[in-house]
Assembly symmetry: C2
Homo-oligomer: 187 residues x 2
């Protein structure tokens, strides 16, 4: 747990771009990434958010906010949902979205790149986790922070990441109390 | 776990202002609240953030962002830190900050009020948890969302809240790898 990827030896630079993973069954994985986006925007940093999954509520609140703030926001998952009936098309979209993310990551134009709901592509095998991590190890600029969100983060991704937080659902009003999801809070 | 405060009976309205708690030893408690703030701001909702603890890094990123966005941000914890040598003054500041929060909550001018790092006031006994919860039960406007962050959320607060997430530290570069906290990510 003290090594990032099993390659690093003893010395580690005091500052570096982090690979951050927010996973778990609870709320706050995406919103914590958005909070970092807001914080970074406050500092004038360059941020790109790539949304890999089309949320049922389409995430109006954050997309509107990103537009107002001038934050680059790519909804690569448009039209691609959990209920897809066409696995081949789903995989094709996933690969295209990852290609977009690779260009953004390797291009060197950002301080932070957020890969929102990216873990599902790994969990469901649409992308090979080892290949993705090898690509990141080689191509991620040293000072770039990459934030990956979503449930079911594969063990190899957790091993690779620098900072991993599990959001654990203790109590949820929608599943436990029948309260509806609400604008501004949930989407 | 299915009742909010032990008072509610069978029926519950399908929409209501939520009491949300982000607790645990991991990252993302405050940033998840900030993500909701950003999302709500994108929808034109009225948000007030009350920061109960002066962070060692003073939270420049988010304070600058809030200023740029026109989000009301009250740093009531200025000058009040963990290392305070004057417990009486600390308690006095905590009470004053809570009085400010009460005015904001009861005033009815907001859709969301964030009480950042508020749990410590309860955990350390500077405020009485039962009194705070009784006050919220009586005075929080029905549609107002209140978000409370911080470690050590007391069991009574968890019982009272609608939505509780525990952020669990799986891996942390600052404690485990000697990486420095970094602008935009950590503060």
């Amino acid at each position: 747990m003290t090594e990032i990827d099993g390659q690093a030896g003893g010395h580690r630079a005091p500052k570096k771009g982090l690979v951050i993973v927010n996973t778990g069954n609870g709320k706050g994985k995406t919103t914590a990434a958005l909070g970092i986006v807001l914080r970074a925007w406050g500092r004038g940093m360059r941020v790109c958010v790539i949304q890999f999954l089309k949320n049922e509520h389409a995430r109006y609140g954050e997309i509107r906010a990103a537009e107002k703030l001038g934050i680059e926001w790519l909804s690569t998952g448009d039209g691609w949902t959990w209920t897809s009936k066409d696995p081949a098309a789903t995989r094709s979209r996933a690969l295209a979205a990852w290609a977009t993310a690779q260009a953004k990551i390797a291009g060197g134009n950002y301080n932070i790149v957020v890969l929102d709901e990216f873990t599902y592509l790994l969990h469901y095998g649409w992308l090979d986790t080892a290949e993705v991590l090898a690509w990141l190890a080689e191509h991620k600029p040293a000072m770039l922070h990459v934030i990956i969100t979503g449930r079911y983060a594969p063990p190899a991704l957790i091993e690779f990441a620098d900072l991993v937080t599990e959001m654990h659902e203790v109590k949820h009003p929608f599943s436990q109390q029948g309260i509806r999801a609400q604008a501004g809070i949930e989407f």
